[in-house]
Symmetry: C2
Subunit: 334 residues, 2 copies
DNA sequence: TTAATCAACTAAACCGGTTTAGTAAATTTA
DNA sequence: TAAATTTACTAAACCGGTTTAGTTGATTAA
């Protein structure tokens, strides 16, 4: 494609490669005005475009970072990526996206691929199954910033929503509406702080309002097998007046179940979801949710990463981004 | 980061750089078993990882392509990108995403950035305002594949939904439900074939069923100023029994208007949209839509691009991907 | 007047690989 | 038995830049 290179410019201007390079990097220390002008003219005449790859080879930098997400297609992930990308582009970096589809092995392969590609750093929403492996890369000197998922016991750079406060606020909102039997639906904690924190926010709100914590109202859902106990059974057996779902897919599946069983939201049961629901305004019942700020998370994550890259430090930072409660129509006042 | 290089491996194995390189590239032509074994051992011992950048420098290839979209966050774009990325990764390429936010200038800058980065090719949903410029890059030898938007008169590689057939089928579906006054809501054609084709599909369906084409029922919408005529006015003045919107934002805005004006879909007026609507199943009225296959479009676009890169040809190909009608509840039988 | 300094460059090494053109020893052919 | 060929490598050029260590002629200080 672009064939004219530095040596061509140098020859055209009648100077050496070194001088041409100095000029292009703005170091005019001891360079006569005429020489500068000749090189400028040569660049213009030959339509020269420096090759950033050759440049970075020498610098042993790629000006590229990696972003490892579950699926770029998701509402949350795509916005994080957009934030990362906007910040990176502004700082002269490019971002390479790797999708893991929730598979820890694909995740491991992605990190290795990025390592081999010599990216300057990585932003990752890790599954939590590769903690050891990731530590290894950090030791090898690859700066890594996490987001979305915080695993227990790992000191790391991470940007997170303030899950605990968000869950607390949401639960308190339901309590203030008169709810006492609030069913908390979560994925298995599995040492993931990001899940435990929400639970704690929930528990603390109950405690603050002297509502006993009923273990029957803490229900599990997982990606493969769905609800451990069917929502209809939960309602029959434990009579919750509200569901508080901790993840968009849980909200979606719960809503689907309730619709199928002809259980009306919010008349029969209230529903509050974690994570924004796209197109909520057009829903039969617009869902009240805890809204995260994925775009901001992306910005902050890349800010932190590029900072670490620049300073070659790796002191663990944890940054919390506040959430907000988006009140719509799925929670009834009792 | 990774510091061990080829020369280290070579020294460790007691061979020259060249021999080590030959080994790593699987050319064992005249290499003794013992030498092979020694290099293999050195690689393993030193944990050597080849530097793809240095490799590609010599090859004058980057094994990277660019993808220029409006906004990675969108339902359609994110899926196209996912398709592109899956195909590219499988073929050893990486994709760099550039967002234009519908701004032709940002688009131009993105292409130039990708050109300077020496990407091996570009996949783009162009605004249509940079046709000249893009031709320039093609002439410079940069392979380009378009998708989503086809501009009038430009011979180019392009992957598209079969817009005409899709619009024909959708219109005929409405006609078969008894609709005769179908309001076609579109962006200004502006020489964009992707829009004109839909209009032709619409017109041909009407014609086939002997329904006169009423210009009053062809309405404009644009991103900045919204509807040229407010939907309520359209209904009052021209009494359509159905709307057929040509773009997701139009569908969304129309629905919003109708809701605000308390006009019921489909009781007062039917609605059929182009483009899938996320979460449609939970809508007050699930919207019937023409569903495109963005993931397939991404796959096909990258297939075509990588093919052109490999063969260094650039014969214009146009590939149509069929759409399907996703029938839900927003169209009433009259 | 001569050594030291400075302005304005350039040669060559380097980044980390690939590839082409050789080379020396062993083997085959004439 | 000498020439031609084959085997198993290596030296050096190259990809397209950056950077370090010089070099040369002019100017300034001692």
């Amino acid at each position: 494609m672009a064939k004219v290179k530095l040596i061509d410019v140098a020859r055209f201007a009648g100077v050496s490669k070194s001088t041409a390079s100095q000029f292009l990097n703005g170091r005019f220390d001891y360079m006569s005005k005429e020489t500068q002008e000749r090189i400028r003219a040569a660049v213009a005449e030959l339509d020269y475009v420096p090759n950033p790859i050759a440049r970075n080879l020498k610098a042993t930098k790629t000006k590229t970072i990696g972003v490892v997400v579950r699926d770029i297609t998701g509402f949350y992930s795509s916005r994080v990526i957009r934030g990362v990308d906007d910040y990176c582009k502004a700082k002269g970096y490019n971002a390479l996206i790797y999708n893991t589809d929730f598979d820890p092995e694909t995740e491991a392969k992605s990190i290795e691929a990025l390592y081999q590609l010599r990216v300057d750093g990585v932003i990752i929403a890790s599954s939590g199954n590769n903690t050891q492996l990731i530590s290894g890369y950090i030791e090898k000197g690859m700066p890594i910033v996490h987001f979305q998922i915080e695993n227990d016991g790992s000191e790391q750079n991470i940007i997170l929503s303030d899950y605990k406060k968000a869950a607390f606020d949401a639960t308190e909102y339901l309590i203030n509406l008169g709810h006492k039997r609030i069913c908390f639906v979560t994925q298995d904690f599995n040492n993931v702080n990001s899940r435990i924190d929400r639970y704690q926010g929930y528990a603390e709100a109950l405690s603050k309002h002297d509502i006993p914590l009923d273990d029957n109202l803490v229900q599990r859902w997982d990606r493969e097998s769905g609800f451990q106990t069917a929502p209809i059974e939960i309602i029959k057996s434990y009579a919750p007046t509200a569901f508080f779902t901790q993840h968009l897919p849980i909200t979606v599946e719960l809503l689907r179940s309730l619709n199928r069983a002809n259980i009306s939201v919010p008349d029969d049961v209230s529903l509050l979801g974690f994570d924004e629901v796209p197109m909520a305004e057009f829903f039969k019942v617009p869902i009240t949710v805890v809204k995260q700020e994925p775009y901001s998370i992306g910005i902050e994550a890349s800010k932190l990463l590029l900072n670490n890259i620049a300073k070659e430090t790796n002191i663990s930072h944890k940054i919390l981004i506040p959430c907000s409660l988006e009140i719509r129509e799925s929670c009834k006042k009792l």
